[in-house]
Amino acid sequence: MYRYNDFDEAFVRERVAQFSGQVARRIDGSLTEEEFRPLRLMNGLYLQLHAYMLRVAIPYGTLSSRQMDQLAHIAETYDRGYGHFTTRQNIQYNWPKLPDVPAILSDLADVQMHAIQTSGNTIRNVTADHFAGASADEVADPRPIAELIRQWSTDHPEFQFLPRKFKIAVSGAEADRAVVRAHDIGLVLRERAGTLGAEIIVGGGLGRTPMVGKTLKDFVPLQDLLPYLEATVSVWNLLGRRDNKYKARIKITVHEHGIEEIRARVEERFAQVKPAFGGIDMEMLSEIEAHFAPPAFVTKPVDAYTRAHEADPVFRAWADTNLAAHKAEGYAIVTVSLKKPGQTPGDASADQMRALAQIARDFAHDELRISHEQNVILPHVHKSDLPAIHAALKAADLATANIGLVSDIIACPGMDYCALATARSIPVAQGIATRFNELKLEHEIGPLKIKISGCINACGHHHVGHIGILGLDRAGVENYQITLGGDGTETTVIGERTGPGFAYDEIVPAIERLIAAYLELRTGPEETFLQTYRRLGMDPFKTALYPEKDAKAGKEKAHAA
């Protein structure tokens, strides 16, 4: 795992000291709110509905046990005993008090963490595949590249006042677990003729105008990658619209100028900036890579796992649902669900964070990941330890076997916390998960991604949900629009709207009708919801969603006849 060098350490400490002074001056009145607001946002501090919210970066979602313990300590000492993991591999604290924030940032610095560039028009926390360095299908670990980008982008003088926020995601495998095509820049690492490089995808994004990213260049060798990124951001910094913040994202720039013109400008800029790098980036990369050496995998029997799998149906259900293929023989990747039906998606209590840290320490090489799907990953686990891990997870109320299923819902904070929201998200997620838990249909339904946002900003990724739910305010009441067929993987698709939205108390039954229709329509249990939707299109699902409309149309037809 990456460790700060003296420069990083000094930089973060200096920021804490600087912000502490700013907080003190805000409290004694020497700074007005107008002066203070941009300063607090530069340090990840928002003011939301009921309290401040502090957003802490977890670069590419990787954490050590010690860092997780510290997040628990902060939750307990300065917050209300929990934290919220987000789709951007951050953790958000919902209840910090302004005078405590300097102490929180200082506690974070003690474990080499911070909240820098988690807000503002900068290059935000770089995200990556949460199975990085572990998955069987990976070409290369994307995290050294993500770390290189983090170092390059942090406090980058040219990129502190971009037209808008800028998000970069990196994947090291063709199977996309990082939603790279819905980012301002998405990178997919590839090998070509023995050289490592990346496809550069640009101009994806969700929000008010959702767009799937386009390929800027299908292969850029690693030694050109950073200058190529610099050229891309720089071209957008120049062309990006500053007259209208809704049109400021690079997706609009790419849309308005066309990918060919952007490519030509990037190539031109690349030629200018490349010499300035002079190979220093590659030296940095090789230093960084040393930090990401894989743990020493051992070869030992997996009998304990096989026995438990045969004998214990609860363990089997969990293992069959929550494990993924690891590249090392005898190993597995464990996804720990933060989506127990009824729970707030992505929330973990301080005790749960500590339990996870301890499990990682005991059985998983001290390493944890946060996924954009708001779950926690133990990336390197020997299968023989799985029964013990499962038992420890059960004790911490973390053994829910629902990864990728109907109750594994992404939900943004919505109007329960977020000042920008137009409706609530969390109780909708809780309602759906609880309902399907009662029906006991979850495993029968199979892979299905439901994603919920509380406003058009799409923090809950609803556009790329197989079923997406968007909360809106329609004439002073909460209303929920449904989209279908979204896909956030290597075959990214933006979902399509079904029609009029549903009131708060109608949305869970509407989702139930949709899924019942799928169970009727599918060719068999092997056909997933998404496949059925792709085969049949929107119509049969519309009929299920709006039965009264059909009845009405039928009546009108009968009347006319």
Partner: protein
Amino acid sequence: MPRPFTPKAITANALLEGDVIYLSATGEWVRALSDAAVFTEQAAAEAALAEAAKDRMVVGAYLTDVAPGENGPEPTHFREDFRRTGPSNYFHGKQEAAANV
């Protein structure tokens, strides 16, 4: 035609805790909407808001619609209702504070 003025309260967040606060009839910042002053005239509401917004211990003061109820003003929109009570997923925020009294 300008819309008729509807009753308003003044609300903001407290600088130190971020708590939702309301301006009372005596010019104090209070935690409960039921204790808030109700303004029925536009000019008076705007003047009071301009004055209230100068308080350096508050952030983002604004006028919000309320309906007079039996126990003081009540929110007319769900957003203000959540601001008044706290989030719906936990017993946190105002609802918890009220239970502690």
